[in-house]
Symmetry: C2
């Protein structure tokens, strides 16, 4: 993987960048839709391409449990398995072990846990996380971290930073595939000094990219902004910065201005399945009765397949009738909103007018159709 | 609507035909996928087009209850509502009133029933069935019939034929839209003399097409063949014959040979959602463990999108993980199987080799992957 900054913003830490991977290039800031189980829910690879998606994320924890990384490897790796011939990033599985699995016990070597699917016992540590991710074959992979709960005491978080640093080192030692770029994950909870400590230790190890983990776990927007602001300056400018699990469009704008290059979140696809649709004015709740005979599209200015073909009335009908097509059409719209939004941010950066774009973005969201 | 026979089979009653509607033409024998609630489950209009679907069926009962025919009418009719710019046939709602609704009471005027959605009371008779179908705006519409249960006594079925004939006459009187073709529905249960009586009465009224109702209700294959064989000869050769709710590929071949031109059934899409996939050799059950690491497509010889891009292993994974994409990819394959199969039948008819095709078809199904 190669990363380069194409243009920096004069008013903020934001930058336009480019990442080149064995499966193609994309520009940053970028949003990666989440394909948890080897499928971005309700969408095919063609749908993703048509929506303008250039890179996706898949979850190591889920694919390790089902169908198993050896199956994916035997089938030619994740790209071929899911017929997605563009960049993929896999997380380390750490976050899901803490949030989904049961009966965890953490040692210096890794985590023993029970599968949320069948209760079977598993052990994953830094070595296993590398082996699994090598088998899956993503272009960008993550070191195995300990993600502290929120809220957490200073002492707990300090130890979690220590473990994360130790495991990061072991991941680097154990990583085998030359064509996979390994990212270190900065932890440290909401404590700026621990974030600094974590960032500095990882930077000393020289990862190919750096992620901010342990955020979007329940903290408020201002706290998150503060943590990002106090962490990014300790990361090298020539490496990409990835904020894991974030987020809402406004959270993304916040973080872009603070120097973040990569994002992932289940929000657009999950909201789509719940019938909450993104518009520049804010969320639109499609089940609302006032859309029952509304002939207009979700968003007049949107060029997605859904808005080009279907009325709010039809989309409401599909949603109320629990038709499977509802989830796909809504997901197409929401992901198009995200890819279009990120491309607007990149264009604003390219043309030196990001500050202006962000101001209009924040102002535009005051008139939400369904506040 | 115009229908013409292009070529007749010398060995059977089968014929190649053409139907021209206000929304386009298609050849017969044809299979119509079922878009119950204004959506062929899991598929968009583009998917249907790509799969080669040329005409679909929608259910009057479901659309009447939700979103309501007035809503569909206000939104420009069913074609525009669901963004399907090709022929549509709507059923009369009769079959669903008997199979889905609760607390029915049948009079000379029609049926009073409770909605299966919210228990609200409704009345639908021949007049209402015409009004609703006019509002929906399909190219082909059905007269309102009384579909006898199976098994049913001779006396019950005789009365059901009487009512169906009476209502058919009222439908003809009440039908208002010139650009909609009205089909009469032959009833008569499994009694050839009642089928003959029903057919003759309807033919006297001169409908634009004739449907065989009250089949595929639990009778065995031989009984169904006998009923079709004893009914079709009483229908005019210059009108299309539509066998409602049928069926399996072998049932379709049976009926084509007996002179049937049109078919509809939920089988391909419902089976898709249950993970049962059609192949020329017979059904393949994708959840079977032996497909867990099978790199091949569902069917080597199939040219559908699913077979071109995805392995049995991936499709099994999606199915086991209950991924929404599973339902769509499986539905694309099964409907492609049906449209391809019908097109093979038409080509065999065109080239005067239907008997040979049917023999190979029946023989080919002896080696089902998952018997």
């Amino acid at each position: 993987m190669e990363f380069q900054v194409i243009q920096s913003c004069v008013d903020s830490r934001a930058r336009l960048g480019e990442i080149v991977t064995p499966h193609g290039r994309f520009e940053t800031p970028v949003f990666m839709p989440v394909g948890t189980q080897g499928s971005v829910k309700a969408l095919s690879s063609d749908d993703l391409e048509n929506v303008g998606v250039e890179v996706i994320l898949a979850n190591t924890y889920h694919l390790y449990l089902r169908p198993g990384h050896h199956v994916v490897e035997k089938l030619g790796g994740l790209h071929r398995f899911m017929s997605w011939n563009a960049p993929i990033l896999t997380d380390s599985g750490g976050f899901q072990v803490y949030s989904l699995a049961r009966l965890r016990s953490i040692s210096e070597d890794g985590v023993t846990f029970q599968s949320h699917l069948d209760g079977k016992k598993h052990f994953v540590g830094p070595k296993e996380a590398m082996d699994i991710q090598t088998a899956l074959g993503a272009d960008m992979i993550m070191s195995f971290d300990e993600c502290a709960p929120y809220p957490a005491e200073y002492g707990y978080v300090k130890n979690s930073v220590r473990l994360t640093t130790l495991w990061a080192e072991r991941c680097l030692e154990h990583k085998s595939a030359e064509n996979q770029a390994l990212f270190g994950i900065v932890q440290g909870g909401m404590f700026p000094d621990l974030r600094e400590e974590s960032a500095k230790s990882l930077v000393d190890m020289n990862f190919q990219g750096y992620a901010l983990g342990g955020l979007s776990v329940g903290e408020d927007r201002e706290t998150r902004k503060l943590v990002i602001e106090k962490t990014v300056p300790f990361l090298p400018e020539e490496k990409p910065v990835y904020l894991m699990g974030v987020g809402k469009p406004e959270d993304i704008v916040d973080a872009v201005l603070l120097g973040v290059d990569m994002f992932d979140c289940v929000l657009p696809t999950r909201n789509a399945r719940n019938g909450t649709l993104f518009t520049p004015q804010g969320p639109l709740v499609i089940k609302n009765a006032r859309y029952a005979d509304d002939p207009g599209p979700i968003d007049d200015a949107c060029n997605c397949y859904t808005c080009a073909h279907f009325s709010r009335a039809y989309l409401r009908h599909l949603f109320m009738a629990k038709e499977l097509l509802s989830y796909r059409l809504n997901s197409i719209h929401n992901l198009y909103y995200y890819t279009h939004f990120m491309s607007e941010i990149r264009n604003a950066l390219r043309e030196g007018r990001l500050a202006e774009y962000c101001q209009r973005f924040y102002e535009g969201r005051s008139g939400s159709p369904d506040p």
